[in-house]
Subunit: 290 residues, 2 copies
């Protein structure tokens, strides 16, 4: 009985600490996908860097909350980083342009170990972990959630209060569109606003002859966004250098700022900022704050 | 108390029925991936059809056990199919070449509904569902597991006794190789043999000029297979017609039997059959059955 009461008290403490810490972060955006492998993490990483490039150096955080396949450290060349632990909590590692990075990979033993944590214990561990991170003051925190619409993204999203919204990443194929529908329904059920849909892997231009091939078809992202009346944020073309840069641990958007894909990331960030401004205006009107 | 005892008895009954039904299936192969979006389902579907094409018409089953994104029916043009329920159980729907198909999608309400089932109840529902399927006699059953190495593939794999082994699907990028390592460790911990690694999306040949581009790099699947001393089963090239055919609900391997990707699927099936024969020989030697 004693143990249960203790656990409960700790859980409440952690929620309070987590909420207090999250309040210092102006905007929180989750990056989700109805299914894995659509480039959710590549998108989250490049968006975080794009935010930093657009006047928010040292003021952007990136939380890699993908429990089973945390790839952010690998993509940012931060595989050997650890959290620095001090008396008030754990401090994020610093990535390019001062982006503050925390990854589940930092607490997992070896990179080949599958996390066979189960059920309620797992979420307690994550909650505790999240409440211990001293993010400091941030303009934007991007959260790379586990893929899908199952228990894990659900539980992690529930742990993180007051999100500005979610960005849904998809690939253009029809099979993937059904899955985007699920992600939208999922966000709505959790009452988290949908900022918009990003279509990744949208057409490939042959570097030899310039012919564009739609390997995974095209237009699916826009179509599904219209169908569900959510904004369409943009298309990111397939570019072999994205995979190369990610494997080398260098942010693609910094390596190839003039590429069509980098421009697409930049435009998506502008659209997200506009969305947030509109939303703030709306809510200040509603509360008569004006 | 009564309810709990009843539930327990039912669970044991279902396990017995499930085991009995699974005994009529000669070989059971799970298709897994360390992460989603690598083409696990496309691979499972085309392998199932390839088995049927290689002399096993009407003797192949395909179980779509992906709870959150069951895509098999869409890829086989069977979205409107239902399970036929009779006194002894539920009968699989019939796909091309008599492949018997059962999908979690057949029991889910609408295609946009995210399955926010949680924890133990979910697995009970799946166990009950699996025990009710009257597969009949089959040579091969392919099981498309949920992606990743988390609770879901773990729980589903535990429900299915006596697997011949798993086929691990990956894409060639380095980031994905770490994840394959996890999938191999995962299989070993569950004591399910690894039949081998399939590398999907392995290079793209421009239909205009013939130039091959390795959009997701190349060779990663072979490299990781060597590293972990598991067989490498083959590489499937990127082909826009795979996505097109899948979206139209037609098995790619039947539509384009002469394409390099189809030939790759056929060779993989031959390697799987050889693996199974070798394994049977070994175990009959060990039991002195020869």
């Amino acid at each position: 009985m004693q143990a249960t009461a203790d656990t409960k008290t700790h859980a409440i403490d952690e929620q309070t600490v987590l909420r207090k810490r999250m309040k210092k972060i102006k905007h929180k955006i989750a990056v989700i996908s109805g299914k894995g492998g659509v480039g959710k993490t590549v998108t989250a990483v490049n968006l975080a860097i794009a935010f930093a490039m657009q006047g928010h150096e040292n003021r952007v955080g990136l939380l890699d909350a993908d429990i089973h396949g945390p790839c952010v450290p690998k993509m940012l060349g931060m595989e050997d980083e650890k959290l620095k632990v001090g008396p008030i909590g754990a401090f994020p590692a610093r990535g390019p342009l001062g982006v503050k990075v925390v990854s589940m990979a930092f607490v997992l033993a070896g990179k080949e170990v599958p996390v066979i944590w189960r059920g309620p214990l797992k979420m307690r561990a994550i909650e505790q972990f999240l409440s211990e991170i001293a993010w400091g003051e941030l303009d934007f925190l991007l959260i790379d959630l586990p893929p899908g619409t199952g228990d894990e993204p659900l539980s992690v999203l529930k742990l993180l209060p007051e999100m500005d919204g979610v960005v849904i990443v998809t690939i253009p194929s029809e099979v993937s569109q059904n899955v985007v529908g699920k992600a939208i329904t999922f966000s709505r059920q959790l009452k988290v606003p949908v900022i918009g849909v990003v279509e990744n892997m949208s057409g490939f231009v042959c570097p030899e002859c310039g012919t564009e091939t739609h390997i995974f078809k095209t237009g699916g992202g826009k179509k599904v966004a219209q169908e569900y009346s959510v904004p369409f944020l943009g298309s990111i073309p397939l570019d072999p250098r994205i995979c190369e840069a990610s494997d080398l641990g260098r942010p693609f958007i910094m390596e190839y700022p003039d590429s069509p894909a980098s421009k697409a990331f930049m435009e998506i960030v502008e659209k997200i900022k506009t969305y947030i401004q509109e939303r703030e205006k709306q809510s200040s009107n509603e509360t008569g704050d004006k």
